[in-house]
């Protein structure tokens, strides 16, 4: 698998670091990692250039993860970029909402690197 550029969106800087470490532990070769603390900041970062993968929390201030994924659908810069949600929200309603907004995967916190691998590798392979 080629090196990827990832955007990690979470209002917790600790959680962003854990997600990045989990990606590396999952064997994903990261060329670049960008971090945003909410959906609005993430949308702004995408203007700096495309990414190959977005991992996104749901509960965040300013713009939550579901609204971010909705807004991504109309953005050229994010066309075809898979989004995987990583969140404490574990209800089926949230999963259905996220997937219907355009997310390709859903990981519930707490999570293991194996779960990250299980959900992220297939969406990256599908993209390639």
């Amino acid at each position: 698998m080629k090196k990827i550029r990832a955007l990690i969106v979470d209002d917790s800087s600790v959680m962003r670091k854990i997600v990045e470490r989990s990606l590396r532990q999952a064997g994903i070769d990261l060329e670049e990692v960008r971090e945003a603390s909410n959906g609005a900041e993430a949308l702004g970062m995408l203007k700096d250039g495309p990414v190959d993968l977005i991992l996104c929390d749901i509960n965040m201030p300013v713009m939550d993860g579901l609204e971010f994924v909705r807004q991504l659908q109309g953005a050229d810069v994010a066309k075809g970029v898979p989004v995987v949600m990583i969140t404490t929200e574990g209800s089926e309603t949230h999963v259905v909402q996220a997937l219907s907004c355009g997310a390709r995967g859903y990981i519930r916190k707490p999570f293991t690197p194996d779960q990250v691998k299980e959900h992220v590798i297939p969406v990256l392979e599908a993209k390639q």
Partner: protein, 161 residues
């Protein structure tokens, strides 16, 4: 999964919730910190250097708190981040808040029919023991005490019925 509508214990909360809270705590520590938490200490021996709080609103209202010593809080952060405890610094607040947030989320996700109708607040972390905690909660609290790296930690859930 357990239903929110089941036998109520004398403290006003369903009898199974205590075990579900303990399971929620164990899962967060085992999965995110790679640590098996050990037997509970005496209930009155937990230092309050750090107290993390997450509010719950909706079908389940209340507040979940995690109380521990500064050494425990720093070690939790260092373990989560895979770094030396001396390097943790201000990240201790974020890390302890996330631990509290994940326990609260994990707990509500185990209650059938509650997860969809219960929102979590942004975590708050208080340092120092010189404060009084006044909650509008009128049931519980559910409390779970355990040892993390040999030091006592308390998780408590106060519920507003």
């Amino acid at each position: 999964m357990k239903s929110a509508n089941e036998l109520i214990s004398p403290n006003g909360v369903p009898e199974s919730w205590s075990a579900l809270l303990e399971l929620s705590v164990r899962e967060v520590f085992e999965i995110m910190l790679g640590t098996k938490i050990s037997a509970p200490p005496a209930e009155n021996s937990v230092p309050s250097d750090f107290t993390a709080m997450v509010g719950l609103a909706g079908q389940l209202c209340g507040v979940l708190t995690v109380r521990c010593s500064s050494q425990s809080a720093v070690l939790m952060a260092a373990t989560m981040l895979g770094m030396d405890p001396k390097q943790v610094g201000e990240q201790v607040f974020d890390a302890l808040g996330e631990v509290c947030n994940m326990i609260a989320g994990n707990f509500k996700n185990k209650l059938t029919g509650v997860a969809d109708h219960c929102m979590l607040s942004v975590p708050t972390v208080i340092t120092g023991a010189d404060f009084s905690f006044h909650s509008l909660a009128d049931a519980g609290p559910l409390e779970f005490y355990f040892l993390f790296d040999g030091r006592p930690v308390q998780v408590a859930l106060e519920i507003h019925s």
